[in-house]
Symmetry: C2
């Protein structure tokens, strides 16, 4: 059994670290807030006082924190992972952050003899709890092979897609499709509804055809039932599309539809704040139609 570390024990990290514990591994844990650390310690994890304290005692240290600045602080801040990680140890960032930032972090760790993988996930809190996350991994194949058994404790569809940062690139691609498809389903159901068609009958007729998607199945129903409890939070969708737009600009390409859809999410955030489900994008369009889907 391995000696592991887990930094970031929020709604995602807590169940993920729990799966590693239950698989029999020793897990050193840290979070800025004490609740997560206490919950994991109660399950048998080793409570630590800083990211560096975790990394000093771990062969593989996982991170699951909100965004690029949080990863940077955990890695390179005072008492950070970089200050503690032994040569030859591995850092695995499972957060969803900027691919460009991630490549920079990997280079800085490599310079001190520490290997890095990026391994953002798709599947949300339900996927984290049921250990069914999709894991999109970037980094060295040999390092990936070492970490794969731990990924298998946490997820199902596990792919090495390229080198450092490339897992984040594919996660960004995932969020582009998810965000734009939420807008597509919103415009379609809203048109049907305002034109006088029962939106649930419309949704049923669209399932199984060329318009079918996970988003039509799940988010279409949320829009009709007006169930905007998260789910996937609007503020996280905004963060991911911001990463998409910043990345695109940095490599000199345009994402016109992603940009338009980000503005619709911004409109929904103006009304509801960022802690509502991202399917609430439909409410921005409802304002522009003076009509509600259901």
């Amino acid at each position: 059994m391995a000696t592991l570390g887990f930094i970031g024990l929020g709604i995602m990290g807590r169940p993920m670290a729990g799966h590693l514990l239950r698989a029999g591994h020793t897990v050193h844990v840290y979070d800025l807030l004490p609740e997560g650390v206490q919950a994991l310690a109660a399950q048998g994890a080793v409570a630590c006082t800083s990211p560096g304290d975790v990394a000093r005692q771990s062969d593989v240290t996982f991170l699951m924190v909100p965004d690029s600045p949080d990863v940077e602080a955990a890695l390179f801040g005072p008492e950070g992972v970089a200050a503690g990680a032994p040569k030859g140890s591995i850092v695995v960032d499972m957060s969803s952050i900027s691919p460009v930032a991630e490549r920079g972090f990997a280079g800085r760790l490599r310079a001190q003899g520490v290997e890095m993988l990026d391994a953002p996930v798709s599947g949300g809190p339900a996927g984290a709890e049921q250990a069914t996350l999709s894991i999109m991994c970037g980094g060295d194949e040999r390092v990936f092979a070492k970490v794969r058994p731990y990924f298998e404790c946490m997820g199902k569809n596990i792919n090495l897609v390229g080198g450092n940062g490339d897992g984040q690139v594919v996660k960004v691609a995932n969020q582009i499709i998810v965000g734009i498809t939420v807008a597509a389903v919103s415009e379609a159901l809203l048109l049907a509804s305002k034109a006088g068609v029962d939106p649930e009958r419309a949704r049923q007729a669209l399932l199984g055809g060329a318009a079918d998607s996970r988003i039509l199945q799940l988010h279409g129903q949320r829009m009709i039932k007006r169930d905007f409890r998260p789910g996937f939070r609007l503020k996280h969708q905004q963060k991911d599309l911001n990463n998409a737009l910043v990345t695109a600009r940095s490599i000199a390409m345009a994402l016109p539809v992603t940009a338009a859809v980000q503005e619709l999410f911004n409109g929904a955030a103006a009304e509801h704040g960022g802690d509502i489900d991202h399917s609430a994008l439909v409410t921005t369009l409802e304002r522009l139609a003076k009509h509600t889907v259901a």
Copy 2:
């Protein structure tokens, strides 16, 4: 066995009329071009000289023509369906046209004692040939029940979604989702590719997760393989999104993402014309990235 009519014997109408013939029905056929009529007559159909000639001899007359003006000409032009159709007969428009126009046509036919259904389809030439079309039907429930056995000769997922024109509304909703999702998959794969990730590895990692869709499965592969043979023609996607935008304006609502995506299809048509597959939308974005997906 019933006495049926079929007007419009193109790439869709020809196999659809063929299925009705092979089910044992008498089918009267007409097209502006003689080839389709000759092909169906060789299979046992009754060749007619005008839409009115078809309708005069048919209990149920099907139409499958390109757009609203073509339907209007076939119904109300010289020697049109309206001039021939007996009281109590049924006209079924399976073309994909403007919902607003369709409602007008249904009202004019009803005024002379002729029932109408709109029944646009999804599934393309392959669906027409294999009799697996999705059929989105608008009209009276009693009329739908009479026509349903003939629909079952041509398709599988057959839904009555509302009154006259509502089938067209749902078809427009279908095409909104299809068109926007083509743009979503284009932006995602292009970002991944230009950022240095193999687009096929990215596509594989995205399948089965929250970003999964029919469009990612089929059109994503077309984009990577550079196979832009139709398939579903760009000019038909443009027509359908035009119907979406005109309908939205007529009922006082905005479709900002549909509008943005239509402009991308317009860009692709500027380069390739309208007879290429609609997945060629990606080429407009490739111009804005100075990079090709595959």
